[in-house]
Amino acid sequence: MENGKTMMAADAGGAARERLEAVLDGLESAVYAADARNDEILFANRAFRTLHGGDTVGRVLRDLVVPLPERGDYRVDPRGLAGDDAPCELFDGELLQPRGGRWYHVREQAVRWVDGRIVRLGIATDITDRKKTAEIARQQEERISRTARLITMGEMASMLAHEINQPLSAIANYCAGCIARMQAGASMQELLPAMRKASEQAERAGKIIRRIREFVKKSEPRRAPAPVSAILDEALAFAEIDARRAGIRLAVDVAPGLPDVYADRIMIEQVVLNLVRNGLDAMKDAIGDERVLTVRARACGERLVEIAVIDRGHGIDEEDRERLFQPFFTTKAEGMGMGLAICRSIVEFHNGRLSVESGPEDGTMFAFTLPVEGGACE
């Protein structure tokens, strides 16, 4: 003991350096120091050494596992720095190691080394996992916003109906009142205020329409080539949850080798999702083997792809079928009756057609066509 104490006291500087190295070796991040002029590695911690399979001091910073900034990435060229310039920050950013596909957060600073040289002191942290998590979060967010867009359409329709009702009712009342008074021989002076108010209400209705048009413009479709299978996968990922809850199996039948369609993916996903949900609703009372909902995609000539949603539910009678696509027509207790009208608008916007017929077995088949990429006949 006595002896050790003396030794430590005698070599206090060495002990301090050892402690520092112990801390640096304990880090999961790779730490290195290299000559700013010739890239010679002067120091490397354990994590850095492990990544490079042994001692690296004396080698040059080139062709390493840890990605390093290129010359152009630096804020100032480290080679030109004089003693007075240090310490200063050289780089702070995320870099991809192309061979391993791993992401690193790299920070480099120019500092004065023990012998007065300017060195690049760097720390590189593997952030691959963190980036993955962030990516998943981003995807989830996108899904949520997509669902929100779907909800918004329904709410929008409901709000529109309510809001436009107010001025329309007021206009109707003012006019009906005027007619009654004119028939009773009222003077123009008597009618004027009501007519003015009626025209104000017409303007109010116009403003509501303008607001809706702006909203629609904001969510205007963006068409691009899209693989049918990807569209169906996305839409059915949502529908799967509902189907499982309802105890209904989703069967997907995509013909091989289908060309990409030219469409706004999100919108078409909404159409598929809407049709599938309708189908699931229609099959509430189906039994046993019948609890299968089929989503089928196949070529329809050279220029079109047809996507069909085939349920084995209660079917739709002739009379209802004709009114099916009218706004606000619904057979559901809580339905707004906007779903199919919106679906048809979306499909028609894509120069496609949405049709309904009896399913091959009992039940109903909703089918729509989309032009394939390059086959769009605008």
Partner: protein, 210 residues
């Protein structure tokens, strides 16, 4: 009959100023007396049990909603009939209100004539209902003025007994029965036997209804 004579008034509770104003205009154009309120609270403040006519009540309002006001009025034993004004999607709610005693509902945007018919019908029913209640109260008051003997005679008349049978049943002379009979006819304000019987029967139905 118009409301100026009957004293009936159409009360409107709707939060939308333009809609309210236009309803007032339309209804006044057809000779109705109208009073409009922008929220349920304002109407409740003005409410008393003697209001007659009908209430046009918007379903969707900030603060106290139409159905909530309707329930509050029921708690206060209001006799004012209520017609709900509904927008799209409120129909299930309106049906529920009908089951609870609302008279009718009109859907926005209204077809003007339909609305006027519904209101006219509602006002007519309210008048009849009020008349029936008044007549019932009148009959009850008159019945209370009869003597015990006159009431006995009345019961037997309503049972369809002849004067001779009544005299035998009560052990009095036909002459006495005739005196009682003419007195009670006078007290009941009945001009004929038929109207007397109708009056008593309707009072009994009211009693049975509670």
């Amino acid at each position: 009959m118009n409301e100026a004579e009957s004293g009936q008034k159409i009360f409107i509770v709707d939060d939308d100023e333009a809609l309210r104003d236009s309803l007032v205009w339309l209804l006044e154009s057809h000779g109705h007396a109208v009073a409009a309120f922008g929220c349920a609270g304002d109407f409740l403040a003005a409410w008393n049990k003697d209001l007659i006519g009908c209430l046009l009540l918007d379903v969707r309002m900030p603060g106290m909603s139409g159905p909530e006001l309707f329930e509050e009025l029921a708690r206060r034993h209001s006799t004012l009939p209520v017609i709900f004004i509904t927008g799209h999607g409120d129909v299930p709610m309106a049906v529920a209100a009908l089951k609870k005693g609302a008279v009718d509902f009109i859907e926005k945007p209204f077809a003007g004539n339909d609305m006027l018919h519904i209101i006219a019908h509602c006002l007519a029913r309210e008048r009849e209902e009020r008349e029936r209640r008044r007549a019932g109260a009148d009959t009850a008051r008159r019945l209370a003025q009869l003597t015990a003997r006159e009431r006995e005679v009345l019961e037997l008349i309503v049972d369809g007994k002849l004067n001779k049978q009544i005299a035998d049943t009560l052990g009095i002379s036909i002459k006495t029965v005739e005196v009682h009979r003419s007195r009670l006819m006078e007290k009941m304000g009945a001009r004929s036997l038929a109207s007397l019987i109708r009056q008593v029967m309707s009072a009994r139905t009211d009693e049975a209804r509670g």
